[in-house]
Symmetry: C2
Subunit: 358 residues, 2 copies
Amino acid sequence: MAIEHVKGMLCPAGPLRAYVEELLRAAGADGPSAAAVAQAVVDASSRGVDTHGVRLAPWYITAAAEGRVNRQPAVTFTEKAPAIGHVDADLGFGHLASYRAVEEGCRMAAATGIAAVTVARSSHHGATGCYTLEAARRGFAAIGMTHADSVVVPFGGVKAFFGTNPISFAVPAPGEEPVLLDMATSNIPFNRVMLRRATGTKLPPAVAVDRAGEVTADADRAVALLPLGGSDFGYKGAGLAAMIDVLCSAFTGMKHGATLAPGGNNAQPISIGHFFVILHPASFQLLELFDEAIAALLRDLRAQPARAGERVMAPGDPEKAEAAERARHGIPVDLVTWEALEEHARRYGCTVPDAVRN
Amino acid sequence: MAIEHVKGMLCPAGPLRAYVEELLRAAGADGPSAAAVAQAVVDASSRGVDTHGVRLAPWYITAAAEGRVNRQPAVTFTEKAPAIGHVDADLGFGHLASYRAVEEGCRMAAATGIAAVTVARSSHHGATGCYTLEAARRGFAAIGMTHADSVVVPFGGVKAFFGTNPISFAVPAPGEEPVLLDMATSNIPFNRVMLRRATGTKLPPAVAVDRAGEVTADADRAVALLPLGGSDFGYKGAGLAAMIDVLCSAFTGMKHGATLAPGGNNAQPISIGHFFVILHPASFQLLELFDEAIAALLRDLRAQPARAGERVMAPGDPEKAEAAERARHGIPVDLVTWEALEEHARRYGCTVPDAVRN
């Protein structure tokens, strides 16, 4: 979907990140947890990924305050094999554990060429792309995945089974920010259903089902999503969702997504898994040739003829354009989120940063 | 798509495989190449994957006879890092190089937990799932990918750029054949357009475009495919295609797909790359718990409520049912293919195996 225009307050990334971090600490999160969550949500918002950006901060702050997420987790790392690492998130924020996984994965992959790092006993980690992007900014390529509780109907089914189980891929690109793919394996995220309910608009055809499992474009009746590929080719999206569920459960030691308590935005902590693969380009090819190959692919793809009024883009290109815009003008935070943050700030006696209406 | 009923000759897998192998050797392929191609195409056909099965054998035999593929390749393997292997296919059949990649990858992953094996200077390798399945039959999980020449339009574009760039995932399952996902990142393969042209039937909506880049359901006017997700969500399928192109080109040392000469079924050898990741489950979890987790996911998924007349299945389930059927009754080979094989057999003085009309 195109990046939506968010109406609300505009705040520069630096102060916004410090603000979210301070609120999380005030709510009881330890320093590393608060820093990781603030980094991830502001990073997502700075790239236009508002569904997984600062919009989630009030939820995380409440989760910390109420102790639904371990605010002071003892995150541990184990090397299970020369190229396999494992992070125990200790039921803390998934953001902290995921940044740790990527950090350890880069270290291991520099020696072995490729490393897998599993994360167990974790929770929602926001946008999976935050972590693959972090690896790519360090010069590595990365594949990241997370499973989640049921909201996507399996192909041929009538009831949610898979999570939106996203997959992300990032690879360094010479002279620009990394190429970043970050996609749910459903057509749309459930957050878009919520948005359409709020705005009273119809859903696209073949993206959601009602309680009886029938396809519906009525956001109020939609209770679950179809996998990527919809009614005709949804076995592909569901197949990817199954792959991701396997890698995030059987390989991490967690249970599969459909056994998890429905998380939504308010439930008890769910003990989920994430799965990262880190690749060290220089172990595969001479870096100079590798960079040339990436540059050639991007140049040729972006030069493709397009439909009237459109442009052929590489994965992450729309977000790069938005990031430049937001670096100039600030990050837009919708008013509901802004006011929720202000309420937390009042409670904890924190200072609200300067911001202007957009 | 459902497995299509193939009308033609029924032949048991063993004699069919020996027959294809003999024809390939007669056409000049060396023993290992002939064995690998015959194994892959009969394996695909035995699971109902007829688009990538024995149907392709006459094409491979001709390619060997005309020397368009290196019939006697010096396939070499290099260990580039403790967990990175590289196979040079020497412009031979991609099947031989891909089986070799998986074999070496399993050996390496048993020591390191995960290994990536790149394949370079390769050619069409049939169904990517043949190789991930081979790894899973040995007790490993595997992800396999290949890029290819342009036939899929990038999102927003009007002209083919990506190949159908498939991704496959296989994982061992206790008490049954491995779970196998094997999917193109377009909605349908171009072979289905060809089939619909032959049968004079319409294409599904939003799967193909005409010469002007406009979506068409007219198989005769279709010249390229839309990525998985179609007109609305095709940025996801195209994003996956881009990821696969990067892994199969920049990481293997090959050029990206759109620079390759259009391969089709008849052109000169195309020097392409494949990318395999092999995972050693016992390096991640106790095998007993791993198996339990896979069994639980399969059991719960297969027990999901379904639409009237349908059944919720795990990836590869339709092919497992078909494989059981074909093991009993033989593998159906369409008459066009059967006759093409007979013509080769006459030319080389090979014996045609017993078969019956279905």
